[in-house]
């Protein structure tokens, strides 16, 4: 008696055997992966914009070089993820089309503006910090290409968080104006960073499914708590406050308690009503549209050369 495809799939998942592109998989699993991975890829690409804004204004040559390298890495990470998503049978063009049509989501955090140089530090420390917290367990995701892309990404990402923290550390040890800039950025980025872990567990139906399939390994709330615990100690090194009056150590749980997230804001930004949703999407569409003639030219040139080659 042969095991059904579904049974084979389930047994691979339970034995921690990775699923590979051509293996049979439930349609729902494929759909969930496509949604999550392409969202993730879009987040990297849209995420280039708020930081890219500051490349031309980076205040020293060293900072300028690191910021270019960082934003360039994000392009690379988007590319690894599009490439992994492609193994599920959807082309990069199709996924990008969904983004431009407003049908695909990306991380809401990138719909907040970068107002000062300190924001570049806060993004590195908090936003990349939250991203890493989310991403490290994904290195063990059940889908092989996703896990492999995440391993590569996590390896590269650690410099991002460190450069961000270093920016804030320098500001925190600087002039009064710099310290204010630093605190202000932390105030603005703290709550949106906590939102990056997604809705509370009881409001996140997809989450459970994703954990059963071992795409996700920890729940939203578990990861968020871990992030809060880590950041409280790091903020002390900066001598900066985290903007939450309810934040305090709870000896019983062994964790920091923290205040209620403004979920109305979360869902508003998610729906596209954040401060920069429109601007970000327009910027992506513009780059894509304006690049069309370039892509066409290179394709036409390659066809000509191939043709000439065939004639020889």
């Amino acid at each position: 008696m042969h095991a059904t495809e579904q049974e084979l799939f389930d047994s691979k998942i339970s034995q921690e055997i990775r699923i590979e592109p051509k293996d049979w998989m439930p349609e729902e699993y494929r759909k969930m992966l496509i949604r999550q991975m392409s969202q993730h890829a879009h987040s990297e690409i849209v995420g280039m914009l708020p930081e890219g804004n500051w490349i031309t204004r980076a205040p020293s040559l060293r900072r300028k070089a690191t910021l270019i390298a960082k934003v360039q890495d994000e392009a690379g990470h988007g590319l690894y993820l599009y490439s992994a998503t492609e193994t599920l049978g959807i082309t990069r063009d199709e996924t990008i089309e969904q983004l431009h049509a407003g049908k695909a989501k990306y991380s809401s955090i990138f719909n907040y503006p970068t107002l000062t140089w300190a924001d570049i530090g806060a993004i590195g420390w908090l936003v990349d910090g939250a991203a890493i917290m989310n991403q490290v367990p994904l290195c063990r995701a059940s889908y092989g290409p996703y896990a492999r892309a995440m391993i590569r990404i996590c390896k590269e990402e650690s410099f991002h968080q460190r450069q961000g923290f270093e920016i804030l550390l320098t500001l925190s040890r600087g002039s009064e104006a710099q310290r204010e800039m630093c605190q202000d950025a932390i105030n603005r980025w703290w709550w949106p960073s906590l939102m990056m872990f997604g809705p509370n567990d009881d409001a996140s139906p997809n989450s459970q499914r994703s954990m059963q399939w071992k795409i996700k390994r920890f729940s939203n709330d578990e990861l968020r708590q871990k992030f809060v615990d880590v950041c409280v100690d790091q903020a002390k090194v900066l001598h900066m406050d985290l903007p939450d009056k309810d934040l305090k150590w709870n000896p019983d749980s062994g964790h920091y308690d923290f205040g209620e997230i403004n979920w109305d804001e979360f869902y508003e930004v998610l729906k596209g009503n954040g401060p920069c949703n429109h601007e970000r999407l327009e910027a992506r569409k513009k780059a894509h549209e304006e690049g069309r003639w370039v892509r066409e030219a290179a394709a036409a040139y390659a066809r000509k050369k191939n043709h000439n080659h065939a004639l020889i």
Binding site: I45, M48, L49, G52, I55, T56, R57, A58, P59, S60, L61, R62, R63, K64, A65, I68, A69, V71, Q72, A75, G76, G78, L79, Y82, W117, I167, T170, L171, G174, S175, A177, Q178, A283, K286, A287, E290, G291, R292, W293, V294, R295, E296, A297, A298, A300, Y301, A302, K304
Partner: protein, 257 residues
């Protein structure tokens, strides 16, 4: 400042300003892969600029014992009229064709110059050239390939290349018009006079343009230009660029970042 130091600053400014211009493309490229490629070139150029600025700072501080200049002082606290970069590199990016052609012209000259600088009488300058020439060889290859793709691609890309050729033509002459610091540096065996590289530059550039089905340039038809970036006389585009680039250090002088 001695004139050899000015020559060093000239190359620091060239590489910084072009690197800065290229970095304006980061996040806006025509396709992800090329976004990454041009960002890489921006990074290479800014890396070269830092080497040149650091060398210039050492030279200046050595002559004037009261000075403690750093690379950032030179990049962030000089006015447009103190910048020595070629007018070519400060030009706005325009479309991909203009960005590519600007890179191609620049890298072609830079590569031929670096080859000469390898045997410069100044060992520090020779060392930077040696370190940088591998990067520059790559920039040259990359941009030459794109010139061919665009020139011999579609009707539209061909037309856009012709526009770029016309736009950038007025700025070629300056490359080969020696400034006083180039005469002085050449005198000391530090660098060749640009004249020495001129015919090779036209030969190499024209050979690529010809394969790209674009009319070749004529060395005799250099349009006279009152501006001279080498002597600190720039287009307004440099002022716009610097007012963005230098904004933070100038708004908050005397602090670290």
């Amino acid at each position: 400042m001695d004139l050899v130091s000015t020559f060093v600053i000239y190359w620091a400014d060239n590489t910084l300003i072009l690197g800065h211009r290229n970095s304006e493309w980061t996040g806006q490229g025509p396709i992800l892969e090329q976004d990454i490629a041009l960002s890489n070139i921006a990074l290479d150029l800014i890396g070269q600029a830092r080497n040149f600025y650091q060398l210039a700072a050492v030279r200046i501080n050595r002559i004037d014992k009261n000075q403690t200049l750093t690379e950032d002082d030179l990049a962030y606290f000089r006015d447009p009229s103190e910048f020595r970069n070629l007018i070519l590199v400060e030009q706005e990016n325009g479309d991909w064709a203009r960005t590519i052609l600007r890179q191609f012209y620049f890298s072609s000259y830079q590569f031929l110059l670096y080859e000469e600088l390898l045997s410069s009488a100044d060992r520090d300058i020779a060392a930077i050239a040696e370190k940088s020439i591998k990067e520059t060889r790559y920039h040259l290859r990359w941009s030459a390939e794109w010139v061919m793709r665009l020139g011999d691609g579609t009707e539209e890309s061909h037309a856009r290349m012709l526009d770029a050729i016309q736009m950038l033509h007025p700025f070629i002459g300056e490359i080969f018009t020696a400034a006083d610091f180039e005469y002085e540096a050449a005198e000391k065996g530090v660098c060749p006079l640009p004249e020495k590289i001129k015919s090779r530059w036209y030969k190499e550039v024209n050979s690529t343009l010809a394969s790209a089905t674009i009319p070749v340039l004529s060395a005799d038809k250099i349009s006279p230009n009152a501006l001279s970036g080498k002597n600190g006389v720039h287009t307004e585009q440099l002022e716009d660029l610097l007012s963005v680039m230098q904004i933070l250090p100038r708004a908050y002088p005397g602090v670290s970042w």
